[in-house]
Symmetry: D2
Subunit: 174 residues, 4 copies
Amino acid sequence: MSIRLIVTGGTFDKHYDELNGQLTFRDTHLPEILQAARMSEAIEVEINQLVDSLDMGPEDRQRVLESCRRAAEGRIIVTHGTDTMAETARVLGEAGLEKTVVLTGAMVPYAVQRSDAVFNFGFSVAAVQLLPAGVYVAMNGRVFPWDNVRKNKAEGQFERAGSDAANGAARSES
Amino acid sequence: MSIRLIVTGGTFDKHYDELNGQLTFRDTHLPEILQAARMSEAIEVEINQLVDSLDMGPEDRQRVLESCRRAAEGRIIVTHGTDTMAETARVLGEAGLEKTVVLTGAMVPYAVQRSDAVFNFGFSVAAVQLLPAGVYVAMNGRVFPWDNVRKNKAEGQFERAGSDAANGAARSES
Amino acid sequence: MSIRLIVTGGTFDKHYDELNGQLTFRDTHLPEILQAARMSEAIEVEINQLVDSLDMGPEDRQRVLESCRRAAEGRIIVTHGTDTMAETARVLGEAGLEKTVVLTGAMVPYAVQRSDAVFNFGFSVAAVQLLPAGVYVAMNGRVFPWDNVRKNKAEGQFERAGSDAANGAARSES
Amino acid sequence: MSIRLIVTGGTFDKHYDELNGQLTFRDTHLPEILQAARMSEAIEVEINQLVDSLDMGPEDRQRVLESCRRAAEGRIIVTHGTDTMAETARVLGEAGLEKTVVLTGAMVPYAVQRSDAVFNFGFSVAAVQLLPAGVYVAMNGRVFPWDNVRKNKAEGQFERAGSDAANGAARSES
């Protein structure tokens, strides 16, 4: 069951540029992450773009959609910035692909201490194999369908578009 | 959908003891991992034992089974040493629990560079939510049913008990 | 031979704020660094300020000078942003303190992969014990006197104010 | 002022072998450490041996001495296991070389969380440049002359051979 990994950048892959002191993009960290992961599943890495998702325009989301369409694999992970992940999920979801597409990302860059990047990536590798065809956002240890997800920017967490705000109990420890 | 996390130690949680230069157990790293993971799902951590799985006897596996039985949650992750993970999976599988139980672990300790621990844990958090009732081993980015899994010690990888040895192609990159 | 450590922030202590995606200050990482360092020398940590050194004004440098003056210890390390480290060194140097003061910092934050922070700090702990009274910048594995040092921003390296630019050979591998 | 770095292994360079679960040697991590350190000083790396210092015999210490003798550089750092570091220091010290030789190592491997390796290495790079000719052990943020140092194995710290045991106050925080 081979998987395609479409890389678009986002906080996940941000890199610290020591000359200007900014977080920017240079390359993807996914090959390094894959090596540590010791996966025996085949996985094909494709760098689609390396951008902050706040800078993505409609044509950038189309480019992600085209990669998903073109892919020989029926199982696709897209790494993506969190700020407009739900928007790209909507573009992919409305396209009605007969594939399982899981978007994931990170709130803290892989290259920074206490990042959520590797956890989220591992989560997505299971999710993409086990979910039926459809488009999903996988963040915060949860799977969200593309048409019912939003980022709560104040809390730095994803939630259902309708219900979670009124449903704080679901987020408390059992 | 709350999850119980039963910790048994294994390579995943090995700690370097600087006074004797040995890898040993002191505490679990799971709380630190959970904090970085930014999960919004409720997860209950239970330290069942902290041992090398080569040192586990039948009564130790029974203690894991008892924790699974007693758990209020229907979704359980067990962190476990890799050497006898398949054996414990068999004990849990034969007990016919009406729960989803996912065993995972690590080939390289969490506390060591280039560990697979966080990837495997993230993978398991998705798997335990998406798989039907049953007992599974989740390693190397794959899900194995408890009655068809073994560790290939020469390669340091899990494989199906019957077929994978003759099926090297499945492990090559696409 | 006890040492005072005066913390002023700088890239060394920058922290990734996951809610706004910016590198900012929250606290110093020095206690964590000291714990790993296993020092048996007594060291007193004082948080003087936590700022980007580009934002430091004359009164901020005076505050560093006052801390150096007030210190009971004759050996002082100042962690500082690299952009104006040479300027603060000049203020301290011209004050003619009868103490050994070593300024250090980092080009890559401690909290980011492949940081130079711990190396530079370890370097400074030796330098401050072995150098005679005076004010020094310790960066890139070298000691510079306060009146002959500048940051080469294009290369991200410190060099002598007069000679190094014309002296590339000194930086090549032997 | 160029420096030679003679690598002998020790805990500093121990590597986790995931197939047998043991800490062993495969290669040195010093090139990776040097890259992060951003040194502008020239430094020549020489792998002399990669061993646990408990396994070193007289001929192994002679090999270190021969490297020190042969070196064109007058400033030499030797990375070494802590258990017999004081013994090798004695062999080098009694040889009466007209060079500055600093032995250092680590209580926790570089590849393990919260290692002291990079701190100790940075400390040694300053010490080797600032100390007069002689042989020294640099550990725990202190410099010890070769003829007055021992490892206190119960505390996992180096101390003066004669006085420190009775001098606990020197190690307390000021």
